[in-house]
């Protein structure tokens, strides 16, 4: 039996984020949330392997109660069990505190029901840190394959998986001993269409909610704001770019518009004209 665990996060849909022009703070209210896109692909891959090998997929997420909807989305895709880690004390966690909570949870699940693969998204689109996966794997002493684009083989008897990852220069095929962890690119699997039974199951699904005290008594010094070595010192809005000169072809014609722009390019600040640069 194959057991995969996927660590998922619900994130604000950054397309719709607005900033309060007065305070410079994020307006959270009314911002729609989505399942982190990379995590969705991770779930899809886990489910694919479950279908191939027989077994089960557990998803875990640390987040506010509203994150239930993202867990349901995973059930809809074919996951079997969902655990939501939700408590006031968890909030304000940076990646170190997050990795502590997730790693402890994975350990607890593993103790009851041994895990073969732990899936993460490549990164969460709200923070874009890509730190949580490697952090959890280090805590659990598991091999970590980041930027995975394909799982070629999972051998639960001989306890290894072959995973392909993409680096800046090439792809690497890595044989990792199980249990292993990976962070997923979108290529890892296509998002499936939900089957009717999964769809129905997801509608009524209520994930288990784990708090800071139960079933695991988390060390209060290691969770949430308290457990986070990094703190926000200040925030601001990015400098607004000064909009440049715009010419309209309807006003000056295509030829002149292009010529004006090329002239501007020729005067680039560093005296190193683009055309000059190109000619070198």
């Amino acid at each position: 039996m194959f057991h995969a665990l996927v660590s998922i996060k619900q994130v604000p849909d950054t397309t719709n984020i607005r900033i309060d022009p007065e305070t410079g703070n994020l307006i959270r209210q009314g911002v729609p949330t989505i399942l982190n896109p990379y995590d969705a692909h991770a779930v899809a891959s886990a489910v694919e392997w479950k279908r191939k090998l027989g077994g089960k997929v557990t998803v875990i997420s640390m987040g506010p109660p509203a994150a239930v909807s993202s867990i349901r989305e995973c059930i809809e895709m074919g996951a079997d069990r969902g655990i939501l880690l939700s408590a006031r004390q968890f909030s304000g966690a940076d990646t170190l505190a997050t990795s502590y909570v997730l790693a402890s949870t994975i350990e607890a699940v593993h103790a009851e029901d041994p895990i073969d693969l732990v899936f993460f998204g490549k990164q969460a689109i709200d923070g874009d840190t890509a730190q949580v996966g490697p952090g959890v794997a280090s805590r659990l002493n598991m091999p970590m394959v980041t930027y995975a684009i394909a799982i070629r083989e999972v051998n639960t008897d001989e306890r290894y998986a072959v995973i392909e990852r993409k680096t800046e220069t090439r792809n690497e095929s890595i044989k990792a001993s199980l249990p292993a962890a990976l962070t997923c690119e979108k290529d890892i699997a296509e998002i499936p269409f939900a089957s009717l039974p999964d769809l129905i199951a997801s509608l009524r699904y209520e994930p288990e909610v784990w708090t800071a005290e139960s079933p695991i008594a988390f060390d209060p010094a290691q969770i949430g704001l308290k457990g986070s070595p990094t703190t926000v010192f200040k925030t601001g809005t990015p400098e607004k770019h000064v909009a440049g000169e715009v010419v309209k072809t309807v006003d000056v014609g295509v030829e002149t518009a292009v010529k004006m722009v090329l002239d501007r390019l020729a005067m680039m600040a560093d005296g190193n004209t683009i055309l000059g640069m190109v000619r070198q």
Partner: protein
């Protein structure tokens, strides 16, 4: 006391990643920013590189030229290829031994993989993808801290992060965000050889094969000129036109996400939050509306030229120059004018 500013010198197959030179430049500047504190305390600041690999000691000479005072070298067959667990073990044990105050790592695929594991194992903080780094006095701290500034929430907010009570203060920085340090030929430093023992059971993964990937050709993140297309380009034929312009400019082609989703061009060309962050000298955005997720990937280009039919497209807010017009008229004309200019130049 020595206050150590560390830079992880990323190398693969004996080739140092240029982000290391950029980070050495940053580390040197940070070290000078605590000059006042050094004068008061009599402490000393050192910029130091960490090099892990097999047969890499020879690379240290170059690291000194870019400003390192000292290089710690872990050179052994077990470090031949990067593997998360093995490199983490090495960097962690060196950091525990020498107690750097700051540790900078390039936000490359390798660097991000390493940084997350090292920070967690050292139980310290890590701030990813910093766009500004400075030594400054944080709230209720007497000693200067590393002020780590980065965009958050898809570029909508700029946050400055500190890591007050834990060392090292760790940050990753994307390539091309900071200028490279200027090498000083003949500059020398001290090599410290480190012996790291890796237990057999720590080797929990192995590389079976390296497979060249189709992206080996395009490296938009390092290009000086990018001609990017969006939905307005209409299809792969439109991208062929952009490629022609890119070739004239010695550049590469970029794309917005919908074009990648539609299969007009491969993912390696995607610019933006879920694609690559680029910093070219020239970025031409043709038929791209300028959604925030796209802008965060390209807004640091030196010169942005927007070409769009719609005068109200948000891309014009980010542009250094813009042409409101049909890209299918503008781009061919631009190719033609550039060719004429080049010919004139050759005469």
């Amino acid at each position: 006391m020595i206050r150590r500013f560390w830079v992880y010198i990323e190398q693969e197959d004996g080739k140092i990643h240029p982000v290391a030179w950029e980070l050495l430049g940053v580390a040197r500047r940070l070290a000078t920013e605590i000059q006042d504190e050094l004068e008061q305390t009599g402490d000393q600041a050192c910029v130091e590189g960490v090099l892990i690999g097999e047969n890499v000691e020879g690379l240290a000479a170059e690291v000194f030229q870019y400003g390192a005072d000292r290089v710690y070298v872990a050179d052994a067959p077990v470090f031949k290829h990067y593997l998360n667990n093995i490199y983490t073990t090495a960097l962690v044990s060196m950091a525990q031994k020498h107690q750097p105050e700051v540790l900078l790592i390039g936000a490359t695929t390798l660097g991000r993989d390493l940084a997350g594991s090292v920070a967690t194992t050292l139980r310290t903080g890590l701030t990813a993808d910093c766009t500004q780094l400075q030594m400054g006095v944080g709230r209720d701290s007497t000693r200067k801290l590393l002020l780590m500034t980065r965009p958050a929430f898809g570029g909508n907010v700029i946050a400055t992060i500190i890591c007050k009570n834990h060392l090292p203060q760790m940050a990753t920085v994307r390539p091309r965000v900071f200028p490279a340090a200027l090498p000083e030929p003949g500059r020398k430093g001290e090599i410290i050889r480190e012996t790291i023992s890796i237990a057999e059971e720590a080797i929990n993964a192995q590389i079976l094969a390296f497979i060249p990937n189709d992206s080996s050709g395009v490296k938009i993140e390092y290009a000086d000129v990018i001609v990017a297309g969006g939905r307005g380009v209409g299809g792969s034929a439109g991208f062929a036109l952009l490629k022609e312009l890119a070739d004239e400019l010695g550049g590469v082609v970029g794309a917005s996400r919908p074009c990648v989703d539609a299969g007009w061009i491969s993912y390696d060309h995607q610019v933006g939050q879920t694609g690559k962050t680029v910093r070219p000298k020239l970025y031409i955005a043709a038929g791209i509306s300028g959604a925030i997720q796209h802008k965060v990937g390209m807004q640091d280009a030196d010169f942005v030229l927007a070409i769009n039919r719609d005068a109200h497209a948000p891309i014009f807010e980010t542009a250094t120059a813009g042409i409101v017009g049909d890209l299918f008229e503008v781009v061919p004309n631009m190719i033609q004018q550039i060719r004429v200019l080049k010919e004139a130049d050759n005469d």
